[in-house]
Symmetry: C2
């Protein structure tokens, strides 16, 4: 169905692949790019010719609005290959919807659904050799949109570029991470853009995160900006708390990214008859649960890290270690997700999307 | 003193100026760029060769971190020419300090002071013909820094480009503006990056501002994100309220840009023996003052607009018109500022900085 429009994409082929030089067992996340990229410009109120071309530097004016006013949104998804060389994405329609939600919040034009999926199909077919089978391997797929109009008045641009670039990936965090609960800095405001995958949300976290890292914590769990009393999410992951046998995670609001992995974990919890509550989670509740031994696990959920166990947190200069649990939910969900993603198990919710 | 290092800048000259084609009486803000630009790359932990070259498009990787994580900060200043062809900037040291404050908050390297001022000197000398004398004319000068490293992991970049581009300008807002007081959306959070001139802060305002514009208001006055009870600043201006003969403006905090025009207005108020209070200003106080007739003026203060009178505001679906005042403070400060900027009057605070 989607493939009928694929031939509308202009494809510029390269004779030489860079793949021979790549050590797939030694990849640093996000530094190696595949042979091809997808792009499509928005001009005169319309998306123009979608194109797949060799990955290469681009030419842009120094006055392009993206450099000055941060009109930029992105998505992150992964492609997986099974042992029969079939390639799958995981719930890409959710990424498609979310990038347009992000774009709308930043006064950017929405991207057409058929362009998005035809672009992915064409690109991933050409770059198929970059997707290695086997759990732990994937191709990270990065759609993004930037404001290209050369004009530095503080208002929305009239021209944009939508692109997809791809980078082969291994699992993002391999070790359990130690986190700081935010007490001073914040990630986003009520009525702000925290729910959007807006570029500026990420740069804003780098400095506070570097302070946390100096103290020996890899990540920050952000709290609500007004009181810092409620736990929200991490820099690139939503967060789950297991208290005895019950899971708890914060509800979505306009500060939190509506994560696709989070959504999937909530569904899997239901499928596994694990009790799950979506409600505000206070710092005090978690400290208390840690003290009385009912806090069994904390883990992050996100495309890059899949499921990332958290081994300790700090709040008010006090460090709380989380003992490892047998039969951890984190590893249960991780296994179930990876099995679905790699086509090793049934897909009863239709989460896999095949690249044909 | 500064000029002794100027010869360290590599200058690439152009044979042809674009200036002949420019109608200086019909300029749209931020769309026309001068003949030259300044740039300097940060690589291997150091700022490299500073260069002035013809303004031109640049080449950058699609994976450059600025496109994905919004690591980008900027400044805005203006150059003025007097009738003797002397060129001045207004308090550029404040812009220099502020861009480094912004950079630090976004985990970006600070730029050296001598590079900054030598760059400005060299660039503005080459582009001097673009600065027209006479009040209302100026050259808008835009220093900015972007993360150029081609890597899409969510962490600070290792390479950056610092640039200065220039655009000839007329006054930004000519008509008094009508504003909305924010009730739902917010510009920034406590503990966030609102005090920095971070690119992402601006894109976040475009959509709420477009909603305001549909209702007939050109700008939004942002309120504190937690309660929306206190008035903070506009998108590119700090805000002053005149109640009877007293001026009031919000204090700086981590949500508000520490404006150079604001600082100068506070000084001028003192110089003119105008009573000024720097304190929180509530929406209710201003509505009440409007109702009882003590609200005489509201005006914005910022580099682009200089001083911009506000003629009406809306809150809770109620519109408050502000009658025009004889002997307005807005026009007093505007005249005094422009006279200092254009070297038409004494400069007792040493705000002018001459380009030699
Ligand atoms: C701020 C933030 N929260 C959560 C997530 C997890 O979302 P998802 O599961 O859709 O990848 C991400 C990353 O994508 C993120 O950037
Ligand atoms: C958010 C914001 N507030 C206030 C201002 C005014 O600051 P300045 O007077 O330094 O130009 C600006 C513009 O520069 C701004 O972007």
């Amino acid at each position: 169905m989607l493939s009928t429009k694929t031939n509308e994409i202009v494809v510029v082929k390269t004779e030489t692949s860079k793949i021979e030089g790549i050590d797939f067992n030694n990849l640093t996340f996000g530094r190696t790019f595949t042979d091809y990229m997808f792009y499509c410009d928005f001009e005169n109120g319309e998306w123009q010719q979608p194109t797949v071309a060799p990955y290469q530097p681009m030419t842009i004016e120094p006055s392009a609005r993206v450099f000055h006013y941060g009109q930029a949104v992105f998505e992150g998804m992964k492609a997986y290959k099974d042992d029969n060389e079939k390639v799958f994405l995981f719930r890409p329609k959710e990424n498609f919807k979310r990038i347009n939600k992000s774009a709308a919040r930043l006064a950017m034009p929405e991207f057409p659904e058929d362009y998005f999926f035809n672009g992915l199909q064409t690109l991933l077919n050409l770059d198929s050799a970059w997707i290695k089978p086997g759990i732990g391997n994937s191709l990270y797929v990065r759609p993004f949109v930037i404001a290209t109009e050369p004009a530095i008045s503080a208002s929305p641009a009239a021209s944009y570029r939508f692109m997809i670039i791809c980078s082969p990936a291994k699992a993002y965090y391999t070790e359990p991470v130690r986190v700081l609960f935010a007490e001073k800095y914040s990630r986003s405001a009520d009525g702000g853009v925290g729910f959007a995958k807006a570029a500026g949300n990420y740069a804003a976290q780098f400095y506070p995160t570097s302070l946390a890292q100096k103290k020996g914590f890899q990540q920050i769990i952000w709290t609500d900006a007004s009181t810092h009393d409620y736990l929200e999410e991490a820099g690139t992951m939503n967060i789950f708390f297991r208290i005895n046998d019950k899971l708890v995670t914060a509800p979505n609001n306009d500060r939190i990214l509506d994560g696709i992995t989070r959504k999937s974990v909530i569904q899997l919890a239901n499928d596994n008859n694990i009790d799950i509550e979506v409600r505000r989670v206070s710092v005090n509740e978690i400290k208390e649960a840690s003290r009385n031994g009912s806090l069994k696990e904390i883990f992050g959920a996100g495309t890059a890290a899949v499921i990332s166990p958290i081994s300790a947190f700090e709040h008010s200069e006090e460090v709380f270690e989380i003992p490892t649990t047998k039969d951890s939910y984190a590893s249960l969900f991780k296994t179930q997700l990876l099995n679905i993603q790699h086509n090793l198990t049934d897909d009863k919710h239709n989460w896999r999307y095949e690249i044909k």
